[in-house]
Amino acid sequence: MIDIRKLKELVRLMVENDLTELDIRDEQETVTVKRPGLHVAPQVVAAPMMAAAPVAHAAPAAAAAPAAAPAAAKEVLPAIESPMVGTFYATPGPDKAPFVSVGSKVGPDTTVCLIEAMKIFNEIKAETSGTVEEVLVKSGQPVEFGQPLYRIRPS
């Protein structure tokens, strides 16, 4: 029932706009969207399509209602981003263990996943050193260029 592409779009929407919470219900049309009053991720490319004047992104806000943004204080870690479009695989094979998971230490040459495009499975390297703090994409899920795959706490 849940459309994976729609979900992906929602996630992208959240990531790009640095939303902290998104709550959609239906029948009664409920929408709740939250974003931090305090901006910690100036690297986020944000600016949704059609944005008018450059949105002063990381600008105001220091004093912003913290109550409204429960996750606002959460530190945003650097991500390993997808260098290509394709399907993400966390494991080297169907019944294998994932390349990395939360807590794994990675170095620049650590393979973190496979991305399949045009029937070819491409090994993706971490290209950074640190510890995996979060896995952002599920195995088998499509990813686009530049999409964050893992959050890494640099070592």
Partner: protein, 467 residues
């Protein structure tokens, strides 16, 4: 019919395809580069997939990434738009091999008509009038005289290694030809160290005349009449119109039909444009075939009522053409002005940056195909066209009058655009009377430059005289 089309392009043509697909109830997926992440057209697509950074070779020209995007988005067809990969037969082939319908011709038909040599050969066979020049080097003067007699004077002698106008001589008779070859050879030898020359038909006051054609997979091919695109600057079309003004109906019919015959003979499916030069006596000489939808297709849509992009999609899906030749009629006159973000006062320097003001024109007979709007930031990575303003009217004069009104209404700022140039051209007597050729815009611009320079030179003198 397709369920989901991936659009391997950007800007106004991406929006054009989205509109046509939506009207057919087909979903759309747009690939985009990071430089286009705020592209307003992406809003109208059902899905958007980032395929790479701004530079085209890393995104819009990356076949592998586009195919991967089609795979992950479960598209069943790919529309290439114009430019980028639209005339790349290898891309068409990869699409097919990967199981995606390429909305355009088969790789074979594209290669056949896209290659000038094989295209010209085919054209001769079906009677499409071709350019009688030869690119083989002329061995001796007597042979040259023979060739020139066949081609008919005037001819132009060109250095094989030439360029920039050097080593070129126009000859209007045999004596001029003999003298011309001599001096061209000398000049070419001096300039390029290579004295080989060849002869081509020389067209004076040529106009650009192109025939819109479309074929399906069932062997049908029709033409949608022609366009005139003589308003050019540096081989870039500025203004296009349909029909071509003042062309003899019989000659026009013949050349248009020969264009349809050409694509039929190539078993061509999809939209194609057969480009010609037309001389002052309305003789036609084929230049090349564009195996894709063209920027200026809207003027043909306005006069025929046929949605060319819709037709492209339909025939790619295997449907027969929706129209028969006998049913295609010309209704009125249409003109398109390409609105480029360029500064006409500064050598047409492209203008990237934020569009703050964008007030489009409207009303009867006015069509705007544009992805731009207030708040859109033009990225520096791509061509400068931000829209196409098209007008339609019962006559050419009324179309021109409506274009003037529309150009006057159209406000874009602070980026500079070609709107003022178009407004000026609409008042140009050569344009108004269609007594133009493919060089008139450049002549006009040069004359303006010269007048400006003269004025600037005179100014200090006058100031002195006044003092």
């Amino acid at each position: 019919m397709f369920k989901r089309i991936l659009i391997a392009n950007r800007g106004e043509i991406a929006l054009r395809v989205i509109r046509a697909a939506k009207a057919l109830g087909i979903e759309t997926v747009c690939v985009y580069s990071q430089a286009d992440k705020d592209g307003p057209w992406l809003e109208h697509a059902d899905q958007a997939v980032c395929i790479g950074p701004g530079p085209s070779p890393q995104s819009y020209l990356r076949i592998d990434r586009i195919i991967a995007a089609a795979e992950v988005s479960h598209a069943d067809a790919i529309h290439p738009g114009y430019g980028f990969l639209s005339e790349n037969a290898h891309f068409a082939e990869v699409c097919r091999d990967s199981g995606f319908e390429f909305i355009g011709p088969s790789p074979e038909a594209m290669a056949l008509l896209g290659d000038k040599v094989s295209c010209k050969k085919m054209a001769r066979k079906v009677g499409t009038p071709v350019f009688p020049g030869t690119e083989d080097a002329i061995e001796d003067i007597d042979e040259a005289v023979k060739v020139a007699a066949e081609i008919g004077y005037p001819v132009i002698v060109k250095a094989t290694a030439g360029g920039g106008g050097r080593g070129m001589r126009v000859a209007r008779d045999e004596a001029q030809l003999r003298a011309g070859i001599e001096s061209a050879r000398q000049e070419a030898t001096a300039a390029f160290g290579n004295g080989a020359v060849y002869i081509e038909k020389f067209l004076e006051n040529a106009r650009h005349f192109e025939v819109q054609t479309i074929g399906d997979k069932h062997g049908n091919a029709v033409h949608l009449f022609e366009r005139d695109c003589s308003s050019q600057r540096r081989h870039q079309k500025l203004i296009e119109e349909a029909p071509s003004p003042g062309v003899d109906p019989e000659k026009r019919k013949k050349v248009c039909e020969s264009a349809a015959a050409l694509i039929a003979s190539a078993k061509y499916s999809g939209a194609a444009t057969v480009e010609f030069l037309m001389d002052a006596k309305q003789n036609f000489y084929m230049l090349e075939v564009n195996t894709r939808v063209q920027v200026e297709h809207p003027v043909t849509e306005m006069i025929t009522g046929i949605d060319i992009v819709r037709e492209q999609i339909m025939v790619a899906s295997g449907k027969p053409l929706s129209v028969k030749q006998a049913d295609i009629k010309v209704n009125g006159h249409a003109i398109e002005c390409r609105i480029n973000a360029e500064d006409p006062d500064r050598g047409f320097m492209p203008q990237a940056g934020l569009i703050e003001t964008f007030v489009p024109p409207g009303g009867l007979g006015v069509r705007l195909d544009s992805h731009a709007r207030a708040g859109y930031r033009i990225p520096p990575n791509y061509d400068s066209m931000i829209g196409k303003l098209i007008v339609h009217g019962p006559t050419r004069d009324i179309a021109i009058a409506r274009m003037k009104v529309a150009l006057d209404e159209f406000k874009i700022g602070p980026v500079k655009t070609t709107i003022p140039l178009h407004r000026k051209l609409m008042d140009n007597p050569d344009f108004n009377k269609a007594t133009f050729d493919i060089h008139y815009v450049e002549r006009l611009l040069k004359a303006e430059e010269a007048a400006k320079a003269a004025k600037a030179a005179a100014a200090p003198a006058m100031a002195k005289a006044g003092a």
